[in-house]
């Protein structure tokens, strides 16, 4: 029973699609909060448009609505469900903004809904720049000299008064969207005008630059009685100037004395007390490194990315406690889940060091600017724990899974001393590696500090790591030296390279000297109290605390590591469900993962959690202690699959599809053989290793061809080549990121792209449903709009798909999940383009829309059960009567310089789902869910490549019929005019004003259809247009197929508002 008896039914808002700045951490927080509410016997209504989340499972909340997160749809849901309370502080900025809007328009009051947790008034005082500043002034908490600008002129005037550089932060945006540092007037104008537009309230904070100060965060919690605590503090290694989401962060702070620590802690508590926060809150400070001067940067009156990190870093379940506080509980009434003896009313103490490193998408966006600033660019992050800082840093580096295993992984040895010093000024993701090189070159730490403004203590630790490198390179690996290097978490791979030995030799030495990793427990209290929480991290100077004895069989679940484009939250969903299914089947589950944002790294998901990098050696450490009976690797994406061979070599049984069969699907020749045996056609292709071979192969196959490295996820490095020059260019890019693996050159086929996920028990398959992509082949499946059930397939094709799926599953000896991508050409001929004998990105989505618990079934099959025993008929399941559309969501506006046109390489960061009774309704909802509102000004722009111009005539005509005013660039307009379409010609960039750019910047248009010329004929203007449009928040569709889908969704707009549907209403149990 909740403390506040009047609370019976709570609505929670999720954070929507994953975008940069708002990622999996809100699934973690939301899921934990939902469970906490249900624990109290409350009815929970959950709304989220993101189908890849665990929180949208029907067993997490009582009523799940997978609906667009808009004020309109939330109003409908509230009217329907009549919750008495709304909890909005756990769904990130998205949920908070919606709650405020619902409150401001009086709707909540009208419906008798209470905003529980932190109040609307508090949220406004924390988020509104002006109110916040006034509040801080009232309690004498310093803020940097600043101005709330509502016009560009105000900002310019302020700049004249206090000078440059200035930091700009728009109000009510997340991930620092639209913010930046202005060094001079032109930059100020540009960033400010953009920021004013992005801010929900048209306010931008312009403030004195405190760049170079220490950036310190406190995670604080306060209850309704006014009890408040700090869960932990965190220090950004990168000083103020780089967004905290893009900074390397350490917890607790390392360079603050008690006076500074307590000064900021007291300030944080003062602030949350004055704001009357009831729940979790994050306070960011800038601290002058040369005095006690500090200022408050910002306050997030909600659970944030930092709270997820703080929760994982300390073991303190912030979201859960925040949810209980919302129900009226006080901190001393909530038990500490870790010690079970103490209460939530204490401050965790650590006896280890935590390092977080962000994961950037620059491997995907090779042309993007790597420079870091106040706009967050990271898609995900890794965390590691160790008994010392340098060890935690080394573990975090290799957790990134970017072919980095030490500070030597990026080679700057070619730079001269002067060049190196110059380049130390660059603030990008590689700065740490340059600093290491500077240490190797004996540039004094003081000099490095002067340039980078990173605290000397951190620099000294980097120096220490480079000293160990040097020692291992030059001296014999004695027991002392090896122990020292292992304590600093040098992996065997690096030690082997440094000492010119093999990895086996290093391991043999470690055996000889008895140097092995042990596991310590995360217990929130530095061992002061007895704890039972099975949450572990490794170190080389500790005593093992793992209790390994159990009567159950043990199974290792390999997680999916940091969130990156192509491998996102979906795989965490799979790992968590697999853990639950294994637990239910009576196994002891052991989760290994390195990602602090996820549900899987919540310590009560699996029986044991190892927060470790996902590398061979780190897994071997766990295997050595735990001796698991088996491991499941098919749920953790490519990260887990890549470890299959290593696990087998360690003697761990792989449960489910075997490694050699995974290889067979990836190995060109073996796979071709299988297809031939099964008589399944595929596009012709060849395997090559060099650029010359690739060019020759393309010539034989005929252009266009698809070029890609094998063994990748998300189509990384995949490109369509129209000409020889394209191949030469792509090969050079591919080679940079992937060495050793073969490269595939395939004939590129145009046709419908179909996707199937299936469970196979080795005899039969279960196919929950068939998904069809809106975009034709050539656009990565993760970036395509996907429709379930497939709309345009006839019986014959469907039978063929089922038959191929079964044949392939059996031929590849799949036990568990497989994902197949097909192309159906205009003659209804079915080709296989790719088979992944593992869980895929679409599994959560197809599980949800068909109501078939795919992961649970796959897990049971892996454990030896047959599909026929699981209560489902074999083969394709009954087609649903509703429609579901999965819409990709991109974060292009965050990544300056990234090309936004879609192709075979995946670029989306998240997805939204639209479910409805008709196709157009589902589509419309999916567009809305993805943040695209196509009906504002009813003006749109067409700028098309030659191939698409004629094809777009019908589309353009229909849009015109719907009342859109069409603008077109000269070439496109010419073709349209020839076909009796009246369109407004708009000038290209170089021509006289008004040009297309003017239209974009004036926000005069709803969307742009811009199909870029393929291949090398990249047009710089077109690129600029797309970039500017995206940064101005105007949707750009780079495929006619997507534009046609939009048209379909618009054609039924008179039926709006669309009815909202509880997921269960539509999705009947099969």
């Amino acid at each position: 029973m909740p403390k506040r008896k009047e609370i019976k039914k709570v609505m929670m808002i999720g954070s929507g699609p994953i975008v940069i700045g708002q990622a999996a951490e809100f699934d973690y927080a939301g899921t934990q909060a939902c469970r906490a509410l249900k624990e109290e016997g409350l009815e929970v209504v959950l709304v989220n448009s993101n189908p890849a989340t665990i929180m949208t499972d029907t067993d997490i909340a009582d009523q799940v609505y997978i609906e667009p997160l808009t004020v309109d749809s939330l109003k409908e849901i509230i009217k329907r469900e009549k919750p008495d309370s709304l909890l909005a502080t756990l769904g990130g900025q998205a949920a908070l903004n919606l709650a405020i809007e619902l409150d401001e328009c009086g709707f909540l009051q009208e419906q008798g809904v209470n905003l529980i947790g932190t109040s609307a008034q508090t949220i406004k005082r924390a988020e509104d720049r002006l109110l916040f500043k006034e509040t801080m002034e009232k309690i004498h908490e310093p803020c940097a000299a600043s101005l709330i600008a509502q016009t560009v002129d105000e900002g310019l005037q302020f700049a004249k008064e206090i000078g440059y550089p200035l930091i700009l932060r728009p109000a009510y945006t997340m991930g620092g969207s639209g913010g930046g540092i202005a060094l001079e007037e032109e930059a100020l104008k540009e960033i400010l005008s953009n920021g004013l537009r992005l801010s929900r309230v048209g306010q931008v904070l312009v403030e004195r630059s405190i760049t170079g100060w220490k950036e310190i965060e406190y995670e604080v919690i306060r209850d309704g009685k006014g009890n408040c605590i700090t869960v932990c503090n965190m220090e950004n290694i990168d000083p103020v100037g780089i967004h905290t989401g893009d900074s390397i962060v350490v917890a607790p702070s390392q360079t603050l004395g008690d006076r500074e620590y307590q000064m900021l802690r007291s300030a944080a508590l003062n602030i949350i007390t004055e704001l009357d926060i009831q729940g979790a809150c994050n306070v960011q400070f800038a601290l002058n490194p040369h005095s006690f001067e500090y200022c408050v940067i910002e306050v997030n009156p909600r659970v944030s990315r930092s709270s997820a990190l703080a929760s994982k870093a300390t073991g303190y379940p912030i979201a859960k406690v925040a949810a209980k506080i919302a129900l009226g509980y006080h901190l001393d009434e909530i038990p500490n889940a870790i010690t079970k003896k103490t209460f939530a009313s204490f401050e965790p103490v650590l006896d280890y060091c935590v390092v977080k490193i962000p994961r950037f998408p620059f491997d995907k966006f090779t042309y993007a600017q790597r420079t870091l600033g106040t706009q967050m660019k990271a898609t995900g992050e890794v965390m590691s724990l160790c008994t010392n800082f340098e060890g935690a840093l080394m573990k975090a580096l290799r957790s990134l899974e970017q072919n980095v295993d030490s500070l030597l992984s990026y080679d700057f040895s070619g730079l001269s001393l002067a060049e190196l010093e110059k380049d130390l000024e660059i603030t990008d993701d590689l700065r740490l590696f340059r600093i290491a090189q500077a240490c190797r070159k004996k540039i004094p730490l003081e000099k490095i500090q002067e340039i980078t403004q990173i605290d000397l203590w951190f620099l000294d630790r980097v120096l220490y790591l480079t000293e160990i490198e040097e020692e291992c390179r030059n001296f014999p690996l004695t027991k002392e030296l090896l122990y020292k290097a292992k304590k600093a978490e040098f992996p065997d791979t690096v030690l082997a390279r440094l000492s010119k030995k093999t990895e086996d030799e290093i391991l043999a030495l470690r055996k000889q000297y008895d140097i092995f990793a042990n596991f310590n427990m995360v217990d929130t209290c530095a061992a002061e109290f007895d704890a039972e929480t099975p949450y572990y991290y490794s170190c080389f100077d500790g005593t093992n605390e793992v209790k390994t004895e159990t009567t159950k069989k043990k199974v290792l679940i390999i997680g999916s590591g940091p969130i990156r484009i192509g491998q996102g939250i979906e795989f965490d969903y799979c790992c968590v469900h697999s853990a639950w299914a294994l637990k239910e089947a009576g196994y002891e589950t052991i989760m290994v993962n390195s990602n602090p944002e996820t549900v899987s790294t919540d310590f009560d998901i699996a029986d044991k959690l190892y927060f470790e990098p996902l590398t061979k050696e780190d897994i071997a450490n766990i295997v050595r202690i735990e001796k698991p009976d088996g491991a499941v690797v098919q749920f953790g994406g490519q990260t887990a699959i890549k470890l299959t061979k290593d696990l087998t070599e360690m003697g761990v049984e792989i449960w489910g599809t075997q490694g050699e069969d995974v290889d067979a699907a990836e190995d060109r020749e073996r796979f071709d053989q299988i297809l031939e045996n099964c008589q399944i056609p595929r596009p012709k292709g060849e395997t090559v290793y060099t650029t010359e071979e690739a060019v020759a192969a393309a010539k034989r196959l005929g252009y266009p061809v698809l070029v890609r490295p094998s063994y990748v996820l998300g189509g990384q490095g995949m490109q369509i080549a129209l000409f020889e020059q394209d191949i030469v260019e792509f090969m050079s890019v591919i080679k940079r990121y992937d060495s050793g693996y073969p490269i595939l050159v395939d004939k590129y086929l145009m046709g419908k792209e179909i996707e199937v996920d299936a469970v196979s028990d080795g005899e039969n398959v279960l196919i929950p449903g068939i998904m069809e992509h809106v975009e034709r082949a050539g656009i990565h499946s993760g970036d395509s709009i996907s429709v379930y059930p497939a709309q345009s397939l006839n019986e014959k094709v469907i039978d063929c798909l089922i038959s191929y799926t079964k044949k392939l599953a059996l031929a590849l000896k799949v036990k568990g999940l497989l994902n197949i991508q097909f192309i159906v050409d205009q003659n209804d001929e079915v080709y296989v383009i790719e088979v992944n004998p593992r869980s895929s990105r679409t599994v959560p989505y197809i599980s949800k829309v068909t109501n078939i618990p795919l992961i649970k079934l796959a897990t049971q099959v892996i454990l030896g059960r047959k599909i026929s025993d699981l209560g489902y008929p074999v083969g394709l399941q009954k087609k649903a009567s509703h429609l579901a559309v999965k819409m990709p969501v991109f974060s292009f506006e965050k990544i300056r310089g990234a090309e936004i046109s879609l192709g075979p390489e995946m670029k989306s960061t998240g997805e939204a789902l639209g479910i409805a009774k008709t196709f157009s309704e589902a589509l419309y909802k999916a567009f809305l869910g993805a943040g695209i509102n196509p009906i504002k000004t009813k003006k749109m722009v067409m700028t098309l490549n030659d191939r698409d111009k004629e094809d777009a005539i019908e589309l353009t005509k229909s849009l015109q019929d719907l009342g859109y005013q069409i603008y077109a660039t000269p070439g496109t307009a010419k073709v349209f005019t020839e076909h009796q379409l009246t369109v407004s010609k708009i000038n290209k960039l170089k021509e006289a004003s008004p040009t297309l750019m003017d239209l974009i910047l004036q926000q005069e248009i709803d969307f742009i259809v811009d199909t870029p010329a393929q291949g090398k004929m990249k047009n710089k203007d077109a690129f600029l247009i797309r970039r500017n449009a995206v940064e101005a928040g105007i949707p750009v569709f780079t495929s006619l197929d997507t534009a046609n889908a939009l048209l379909v969704s618009l054609q039924h707009q008179e039926e709006r508002p669309f009815p909202v549907n509880m997921a269960e209403d539509l999705i009947e149990k099969n």
Binding site: N227, Y261, V349, D460
Partner: protein, 363 residues
């Protein structure tokens, strides 16, 4: 140089010796504060004890002499996992390692402090020897270690003579039982004139100076050893002047009025201890450093009522005297190190002195 911590139960932890090289036997206690090693080392309450820091990275921000809570290090030894080789802070004047050397205090680094803490938590606080000698036969050593007792530490830590720190406001008599300097500083910040007295000053002598209130400080050792002080405190109680007592002072006043004290299994030492104000039920984080605790059950309800209690183990954390303007706390409102959330208690003391003053005037 290899160094050892030999516990009285025969458990040996190895590490590298730093600071002074002499051998020392003392009580081994752990502190969970993540910052504040300077304040902790110089806190006189640690006289007779060696400190294990549970946070593994110590010394990062070096030493600033202003942060010291007394003139020197009172702890017998420091036991840590890692000690920083550089000190990085704008106020840093020295490295921790050199500070230990200068104070002739031995230390051990590279100790598995987590395993050691767990051991102390399970078995309770115990004695240990810090040495650089590798003993082949431990049994004669162990009996020596076991026999160690903390004795006469208040005598050692208290000031030798009365001192006066000028101020415009109330005259506060501070009985120095091994006081942290921030107690006097906190009073001075509120304008008080602080007269500090050696621990064994008689009540009559103190009262003769006509203080407006009396402050009983923290201090080391077993409270029951301080028989003569306890006796004098009874007279202080009878005098009716406002008294604010911290830690050892709190225990001694309670003993003076009939309460008992006992030793906790492994004490409360750290900056994250939640205490509940029993009047308002509000929870506050406190800084703590005590091995002994008051058993208030034996204290007559008419004399004093529990005012604060520890949220985790519900032990007594403060007393509110019923017939006299006296209140006392087990935790450290003066912080240094640790949270300053309870610093307002000094203001409460000020208020008591104001009331007392007003009443006296009326008389």
């Amino acid at each position: 140089m290899e160094a050892f911590l030999i516990l009285e139960d025969g458990t040996v932890f190895r590490g590298r010796g730093i600071g002074a090289s002499h051998e020392v036997i003392s009580e081994i206690t752990f502190n969970t504060s993540m910052t504040g090693y300077v304040e902790i080392l110089t806190d006189p309450s640690y006289a007779g004890q060696s400190i294990v820091m549970t946070y593994p990275l110590i010394g990062n921000y070096g030493i600033n002499h202003q942060d010291k809570e007394s003139e020197k290090i009172w702890a017998d030894a420091l036991i840590v996992r890692e000690i920083s080789r550089i000190s990085s802070n704008f106020r840093s004047e020295d490295t921790l390692e050199h500070f230990l050397e200068e104070n002739h205090i031995p230390g051990i680094v590279h100790v598995d402090t987590r395993a050691l803490t767990k051991h102390l938590r399970r078995k309770g606080t115990m004695n240990g020897m810090i040495t650089r000698t590798s003993y082949s036969n431990l049994s004669p050593i162990l009996s020596k270690i076991q026999q160690n007792q903390i004795q006469d530490v208040v005598e050692k830590t208290t000031v030798k003579q009365k001192t006066v720190q000028k101020g415009q406001g109330f005259r506060v008599a501070l009985l120095d039982l091994g006081a942290k300097q921030n107690i006097a500083a906190s009073l001075q910040n509120l304008g008080c004139e602080v007269w500090t007295y050696p621990a064994f000053t008689t009540a009559a002598e103190i009262l003769a100076d006509k203080p407006d209130g009396m402050m009983l400080s923290n201090g080391p050792g077993d409270p029951k050893e301080c028989i003569s002080i306890i006796k004098e405190l009874k007279s202080i109680y009878d005098s009716g002047i406002p008294v604010f007592a911290i830690c050892l002072g709190h225990q001694l006043m309670a003993l003076a009025m009939g309460a008992d004290t006992y030793k906790l299994k492994y004490g409360h030492r750290g900056g994250n201890h939640p205490v509940k104000d029993l009047q308002t039920n509000k929870i506050t984080m406190s800084s703590q450093n005590h091995g002994y605790v008051v058993n208030a059950d034996k204290l007559a309800k008419e004399i004093a009522l529990p005012a604060f209690e520890h949220v985790n183990d519900r032990t007594n954390e403060g007393l509110l005297y019923q017939k006299r303007p006296i209140f006392s706390v087990q935790f450290h409102p003066e912080a240094n190190p640790g949270p300053r959330d309870l610093a307002y208690l000094f203001e409460r003391f000020m208020h008591q002195m104001e009331v007392y003053h007003a009443e006296k005037k009326r008389d």
